[in-house]
């Protein structure tokens, strides 16, 4: 074994000493943006004359981690994200020399809660979702104190819901969908309790840890970065509820049906107008230092931000993307063209 590993090391160094130039864009990131990015990449490869970019689906968190590791051809050029970059990640990026990045928003996505066609029709409120899935729930009606989540059945959460066990299949913590779900569904449900809302002013850290964490005692089942798997599990178990992006709901309408959240179905119009409460924006981030080194990055960005792709009539819209307003899209098209530097300070304002 000693011999063998020595030989491998020697061979690997022989390869690595000659610098490896790259003429192909490398993209990592969100599994929600992946189906859109692959379509753009394929069209780009066919029409532009550049090599088709390579896209890995690593989840938003995993993508940003790889993206922020540093400059150089062994690191990815672009990362997709189904949530905005965090200020922690911006700091990590700049620590590793990745100071100059561009943020592009490509559209919206609704997070649907859906169950199998054969399952019951559900109408949930954000409060129900919070009480069913949070790690800690209010111990008193005002929400001044908390206790570990005791609820096992939907009707314990809200008497109007069926007397069925709570089983929700959703993405793991590395997923942007999960981050957005925690923030948009769980946290907003949490805020419905005045005591919790008051806590935000007093102790922000405690508030975040209590209002954004999902229970780990069984009812929430993590299914990995694979939305198709969630759909298959839902079909096999009509009592379970799944959490995934709108585009997957759209593609699988023959198998699953969405639940109303706060009285609204996750439909195209409701998500783009913001009426559907659990909707978020999709992004990708470009490493500007790479744009002059790896051929095709600017052209790829132009293709992705063009009206032909993400405009209201674009080809990604037929794949389930919910488009930005025209003026916002034009702004990001310009940002992409100029590689406008993203200012991390805007994140702190919120």
């Amino acid at each position: 074994m000693k011999k063998s590993s020595l030989a491998i090391v020697a061979l690997a160094f022989a390869f690595s000493t000659e610098s490896i130039a790259r003429d192909q864009i490398k993209i990592v990131g969100s599994s929600t943006v992946y189906p859109f990015a692959t379509v753009v990449a394929e069209r780009f490869g066919k029409t532009s004359g550049f090599k088709t970019p390579v896209i890995e689906s690593t989840g938003s968190g995993g993508g940003l981690k790889l993206f922020c590791k540093g400059l150089g051809t062994e690191h990815p050029d672009i990362t997709n994200a189904s949530r905005r970059i965090k200020s922690k990640e911006v700091k990590k990026c700049s620590k590793n020399g990745v100071t100059d990045i561009t943020e592009i928003k490509v559209g919206f996505d609704g997070i649907a809660m859906a169950n199998a066609k054969s399952g019951p029709m559900l109408e949930l409120s954000l409060k129900d979702i919070y009480l069913a899935l949070a790690k800690d729930v209010p111990a008193d009606p005002e929400g001044n104190t908390v206790k570990p989540n005791p609820y096992k059945m939907w009707n314990e959460v809200n008497p109007a819901l069926p007397a069925a066990p709570i089983v929700v299949i959703g993405p793991p913590p590395t997923s942007g969908t999960r981050d957005a779900f925690n923030e948009l569904a769980i946290e907003r449900g949490c805020k419905k309790f005045p005591g919790r809302k008051a806590l935000k002013k007093k102790d922000k850290k405690l508030y975040k840890s209590q209002c954004r964490s999902v229970r780990e005692d069984g009812p929430y089942v993590e299914a990995g970065e694979n939305d198709n798997l969630i759909i298959e599990k839902l079909v096999a178990d009509p009592g379970a509820l799944g959490v995934f992006g709108y585009s997957f709901l759209d593609q699988n309408r023959d198998k699953v049906k969405a639940a109303k959240v706060d009285g609204v179905f996750p439909e195209f119009e409701a998500i783009s107008s913001g009426k559907y409460p659990v909707s978020r924006s999709l992004f990708f981030y470009i490493k500007n230092a790479h744009a002059s080194v790896i051929p095709g990055i600017k052209e790829y960005v132009r293709e992705f931000t063009s009206a032909k792709a993400i405009g209201s009539d674009g080809y990604l819209v037929s794949k389930g993307l919910i488009p930005l307003g025209e003026s916002e899209r034009a702004q990001f098209e310009k940002d992409g063209k100029n590689l406008a530097k993203f200012d991390g300070k805007v994140l702190n304002k919120k």
Partner: protein
Amino acid sequence: MNNLKKIEYSLKKRKRQESRFKIYGLLGIATAVSFLCIILSSIFMEGKKAFLSTYIKLEVYFDPDIIYTSNDQKEEDIKFANFQKIIKNSLNSFFPEISDKGELRKLSNFISSSEEENLMKLVLKNKQLVGQKITLWLLASSKIDVINKNPDMELIAEEDRLISDLELNWLNEIRSANNIKSNFNKNFFVKADSTEPEQAGIWGSLVGSFFTLFVTLILSFPIAVAAGVFLEELAPKNKFTDFIEVNINNLAAVPSIIFGLLGLAIFLNVMHLPRSAPIVGGMVLALMTLPTIIIATRASLKAVPPSIREAAIGLGATKFQTVTHHVLPLSLPGILTGTIIGMSQALGESAPLLMIGMVAFIVDVPGSFLDSSTVLPVQIYLWKSTAARGFVELTAAGVMVLLSFLILMNGIAVFIRQKFEKKW
């Protein structure tokens, strides 16, 4: 008398026991075989559909007004011409009654977007075509293909179906005019991944698998045989070699993902080799395959009778000559069998490749060891996790291709063993 009866009685019992024992064995085999049959037949039933794709016959008019946008009729014009419009017009001439824009767009989705490129190439090759009207069989989009191949899908309710009633009517009209046919799906064998099922193929990942396994073989075979020969023939038996032996056996049982983590930490983070490249995949799989081949090598060296070694040494051969002239050639069939089985294990492996970025969307067929690529099992995994309905069949077809390669490799291993193995 009493004893005899006892024996007679117990004999019956023992015979019953034996027949029960036989039945248990048979039941075991029957269950295993039936599971295998269920798996294989379900894969085959699903996968066989992927080997056919649907074509639609259309009269295509290469309208000079669409193709030549400038007056001097340059070749550049053809490259940037709107062939989508040409296809749309051809479809419209088959359904002249449709004029609504939205409906026309739905209609143009009947034909695969890859045909735009094909028509462009056709015109580039033969410029005389401009201005002519010719009949062509064009590849249908995946949606139409799925409906055409699964007639029972037409019966389900409209909102659950892939296409609307209106589109189904159009499809039936095309059918009644006899303008639709199923033909061999060539794309599946010559293309790499795509977002459109009808344009996706297994070739890219097959080439990726080939490059990866080549690196694995080149690295692991010589190293493992050298290690095996050293440990079995040359090394003294002491605590140190015992320690190595225990470790090799341990390595053979290490979950494959660990090798992926090792690859990520050393090959990518320390040596800065490119992500997603077959060279790295091959190196990781070589680490995984090494113990398998070392163990097989040692076992087949052990199987060579000591009399052969003693005879060679008795005639004055050195240790080196004994091994290279006699022992190694005699044990080669066993070593090769072990190697091929290790290779087929590597062919089916996907977990360690996940860590080094070989699980990616890659459209270009890889051309070298440093190009980004996927491998067969990873391609199957990627298709399985895609939303579009057409990929269900491609996934099963991909499994069929992978299985046939595994059967082929294991068949060669069995053949070598039967043909060349010596019995003493």
